[in-house]
Symmetry: C2
Subunit: 687 residues, 2 copies
């Protein structure tokens, strides 16, 4: 979608603009009027003038030749929206914001009206934001098409570099209000509302090219199109950080979310796997949303998650070291050269190591010298400076030294954590005015560093997701279970080894090399263990015949379907049993699941997820990320699995599914590991 | 220890009080002088007057008859401290604060001087705070014997009800500085420093009786005496909440802590078990330390961890529902009566359930009505009110309504979370001035509620720990391994079932009912599996004889000690293998460890800890808290363990150790579960 004219309209018409200053329509009008360059037309059936400006009865009355340059904002009761929308669309309007509520979120009639809106949008190729939203802000052009009073504050000193997208209007207005306090520069704000037409993915795509924005933050209650989400977010993450707060993670949360937006919450594990695959920074709460906005003040070229920590107090340094490890960061070891330099400039009492405790009597000079020694080391990319106000600490002077070093070392990430209260206010202002990310507590600083540095670290190897084609080659009526032997053939043809499996018939009873495993398969034996359908260690032809006779008798007497039959398999002594599965998630599409079999998967729920475009490297990570990995690798004297072989096995499995996208579900349970080989012992494929 | 005169001295002498206003000694003098009631004597060798007050050359020159009413503060170089301390002690001084640094934390000579201080303290029964500390503040008497400038701020409106103990001076001063900003009322502050004499436990004991203090918060880098800690903290927790931030949890943190204070960090798992046993609220970072101070504004009588959530926005309500579940809280279900009342007063659109979303256009009247309906329900103890600033939200009016309802419902816990920034400042001030805990983000509010409510919930069943007697009946030279058969006898005599085990000799080879298990035992076979010392399924007398001959030959040729011998055990078919262990932790004393055997304990480290005073209820919790509990209980078609029986087994195990406190280590690995019985199959006891 081309959002150029939507975001930078020459003209804006506000339907529902009013002389009542308390009305939403009026508030929007006032906000747009803040910008002198945009021409605004109030539209009001009764008034001749609104806010002192000539008002029009209808959009068609506006003195315009080309309506494609006009953005129309709807702030009128829901029942009038559909008709008005048709009218403006037929005039040539292509860009619309529907502030009005009373649609899908309200009742059945509302939902029907919303469907109408979608249809009109499709017909006329409209960009529509909303309905049921606050509008949007384009700070770079100083256009505020929303009913927030954000723009009125012009105190922010930093570059307007943070874009914020919110599905919830309330969270949107709360965050906008918070930003006013915090010297956070906003580039864009979008309130998504019901996402009838434009959704988060449209804006993620837009931000790929937007030069103002260094960080995109999104609050979402549901993901609109999982496959496109993976593609848009991974493409954007490859360029700049995207941080996503998704609500409804727990069962209580998602129950609440359903009643709140009518959205279908997917499973949290799959969501997390999708966010990870997309390269997004995963936020868990509003505090983290604030913190990530604080730390990204410009784009950086950082490659590692190693940090250096300088502190004038042992206590906070100890607490921070705890957080560093828990936050998946590393403490860099100083090079000999840096050690020498630090030794030269610091008191002999200082223990030269990271975290570097420069002692309670550290003045601005000591902070300066140690910071400079550290910053001049090429390998050191990120530094966290801790300070607690002690008797000799001159926090303002220290802040000033940090600011001047930051100017000299532009490419390094310098983050501060000045811990205390009133006594630090002026120092904190010095830091903030010079765009140094500063936090109140070590854990916030380190959490933010962890998210950002790990984003940079992972970005190198991040691949842009290419969404699965949504075409279905043939439409199937409901579920379709693949024949048991066919499914074995399918995997074999796709390079996946299987346990030798053949149909058991009266003709081959004699030739079989006993012992064997016999299984009943078919529609009546989908869950085999439930039905006494597996016969292990069948030792004689006689035994096998009895088992075969039983199923044939049941078929003859129509107790079970004619499609059921018996198979036999060679007996395999398995060193380990694995589970590999596939499901088609309603939001994110095909998802692969892997786990150590038996109790680990079924009782301890110890599994990991991935997507169909999995590489061997991804597969290794997927295997490593289950808690029972030490067992898979081989614990104690037990033989482990060849991880490389297993990773290839998973990649081949994904490829097979990719070539047959109509598959909706696969269960390979168990997959045997036996004498170094990996073989499928039982398979179920559903189309 | 009696701290009465320490905390409320009639007279204070400051050694090192100076006319140089930058000196620590002068700062302390000035702080004490703030309080007109306390008589202060500067002590200075050179000056006649300090800060305009008559100075004395020596403490003995002071015009006092009874030196027991005098608190002496040392702010002089470390090298002079020992001699001065002896002198003042011999005068009859009993209460001392040593601010001076340069002791254990500094170097070997310092450590020796600190030992001298300890000796003098023992001899004269001195209360000494420090050395290497900031001093203390007793806010209820307005005495500030520290070099913080905390008291100078008198803006705090709430009751001074929070005591803060800090082992780190830097964390202490940072938190004091923070408190000045936040309307947090401090009752006491203690900077522990090196804890040569007084330590955290002395103050925990003191706070049991202190009526000013509603919450005790402690920052610790090491626990001074684990057994006393368990006793003091559990006794205090029974009366009022104690929140503890212990640094050095991770390996990086504890390495740092060791170099910082020279403290021996115990294992984190044992520390957590100890904090849990003591009933303390466990803090993980400084942010949580701030939050817990915010929420405890008075003592409450709360019994459940159920909360009610009211919000004017869906987004924050969804996020909060997520946090509620993750935070181990419950959302209370409304009674029919409350539902009816809410229905009457709220718009029909509102979905009457918890969390209660009273919609974006909620005004102060709607907040009032819904809050009143909820508060009047007897079962509802705790309410969290969320607010985001939307177009019609008058936050000030809503805050006022909440304040007036709070006065009416004094026994309920009302917590607010007004989310936003500048637009909420005045509303937040109204809440804060009326002592309503208010947070900036739902996760902080819910985290704090979770910690506090779960404290109250658990307090009911909390038992005060009684510390183990530290007497040893006989001193042993080093480790002493108990004879294998004796250890089996020991457990049998203490009501713990064992697998039948006898010595294997040439005499009984014939009588044995084969098959049996044979094991070599003794000093050379402590780790049996390493040395081919276990022989399973020995089927014949001949086989057994060969095994016996081998060990006897090795003994005869002095390859192994004479104390080794062979035993045989009946073959037991185990349904499950458990591990039960005991170790004597250097900090906390005897700790019991439990886990499902094999891979679960050894590779997945899935174990839980408890203490010797374990009850059956505790033991059940201990069993339930391992991740593999579903397997222990019986997963799939597998037979599980009788949890009740297992709990009794663990309690008996603890009793056996309690009666033999010299035991320093036990390994029962494996313990078999077989045909419903629990039997020790292998045992190692070390004294």
């Amino acid at each position: 979608m081309n959002l150029e004219k939507f975001l930078n309209p020459k003209y804006v018409a506000v339907l529902g603009a009013s002389n009542d200053t308390k009305k939403v329509g009026r508030k929007i009008l006032d906000n747009i009027l803040e910008n002198k360059k945009t021409k605004v037309f109030p539209v009001n059936l009764k008034e001749k003038k609104v806010a002192g400006i000539k008002a029009y009865k209808n959009v068609k009355d506006l003195p315009l030749k080309d309506f494609s340059e006009l953005l129309v904002v709807f702030s009128i009761p829901a029942v009038f929206v559909v008709n008005e929308l048709k009218e403006v669309a037929s005039l040539g309007v292509r860009n619309v914001v529907i502030i009005s509520a009373g649609f899908k979120e309200f009742n059945k009639e509302g939902a029907e009206m919303e469907e109408e809106i979608e249809k009109i949008a499709k017909e006329y190729k409209l960009n529509i934001l909303g309905p049921n939203c606050l509008g949007f802000i384009n700070k770079s052009k100083d256009i505020n098409v929303s009913f927030s009073d954000f723009l009125l504050d012009k105190e922010v000193k930093r570059k307007n570099n943070i874009a914020f997208i919110s599905q919830s209007g309330a969270i949107g207005s709360a965050v906008l209000d918070w930003i006013r306090d915090k010297n956070i520069g906003l580039s864009y704000f979008f309130s998504l509302g019901n996402k009838a037409v434009l959704n988060e993915n449209d804006f993620f795509d837009f931000f790929k090219k937007d030069k103002e924005t260094d960080l995109v933050v999104a609050y979402l209650e549901e993901v609109s199109d999982g496959q496109r989400f993976l593609e848009s977010v991974s493409a954007l993450s490859k360029i700049k950080p995207v941080a996503i707060l998704k609500s409804g993670r727990t069962s209580a949360g998602s129950k609440m979310a359903m009643s709140h937006t009518g959205s279908l919450a997917g499973s949290n594990e799959i969501l997390l796997a999708a966010l990870k695959r997309s390269g997004a920074i995963v936020l868990e709460n509003i505090g983290q949303l604030y913190n990530i906005m604080e730390i990204v003040k410009k784009p950086l070229n950082i490659e590692s998650n190693k940090i250096t920590l300088i502190s004038n107090a042992g206590g906070p340094a100890v607490l921070s070291a705890d957080e560093v490890l828990e936050g998946d960061l590393e403490l860099l070891s100083f090079s000999n050269k840096t050690k020498e330099e630090l030794k030269k400039s610091l008191p002999s009492l200082v223990n030269i190591k990271n975290p570097l405790d420069i002692l309670g009597d550290a003045d601005s000079d000591r902070y300066k010298k140690s910071l400079e020694s550290v910053l001049s080391d090429e390998k050191i990319e990120s530094v966290l400076i801790l300070l607690t106000l002690q008797s000799v600490t001159n926090a303002d002077d220290i802040a000033k030294e940090i600011v001047s070093l930051k100017k000299k070392y532009k490419n390094k990430l310098i983050v501060t954590c000045f811990i205390g209260g009133k006594g630090l206010n002026s120092a904190k202002k010095i830091l903030s005015d010079s765009l140094i990310p500063d936090f109140d507590s070590p854990e916030e600083a380190i959490w933010s560093l962890s998210k950002l540095l790990n984003y940079y670290k992972n970005r190198k190897s991040l691949r842009v997701y290419k969404k699965e084609s949504s075409k279905r080659e043939h439409d199937l009526d409901g579920e379709f279970l693949v024949d048991y032997l066919d499914s074995f053939k399918f995997f074999q043809e796709n390079g996946l080894d299987v346990v030798k499996t053949k149909e058991l018939t009266n003709n081959n009873l004699k030739e079989i090399k006993y012992p064997v495993v016999i299984k009943y398969t078919g529609p009546d034996f989908v869950h085999k263990s439930d039905k006494n359908a597996i016969f292990l260690n069948v030792k004689t032809q006689k035994e096998a015949k009895n088992i075969l006779d039983k199923i044939n008798k049941d078929k003859e007497s129509c107790l079970i379907s004619d499609k059921n039959y018996a198979i036999y398999q060679e007996m395999v002594k398995a060193d380990m049993e694995l589970i590999l599965g596939l499901k088609k998630d309603s939001v994110f599409g095909h998802v692969i699941m892997f786990g150590l079999g038996g109790i680990y998967t079924e009782i301890l729920k110890d599994v990991s997820f991935s997507f169909l475009d999995i590489t061997k490297k991804d597969a290794i990570k997927m295997i490593e990320s289950v808690k029972s990995f030490p067992i898979i690798k081989g614990a104690r004297s037990q033989k482990g699995v060849d991880i490389d072989l297993l990773a290839s096995f998973i990649v081949n499995f994904a490829k097979a599914v990719k070539q047959n996208p109509e598959i909706s579900e696969i269960d390979l349970n168990p997959v045997f590991v036996s004498q170094g080989k990996i073989k499928i012992a039982d398979a179920r494929i559903v189309f």
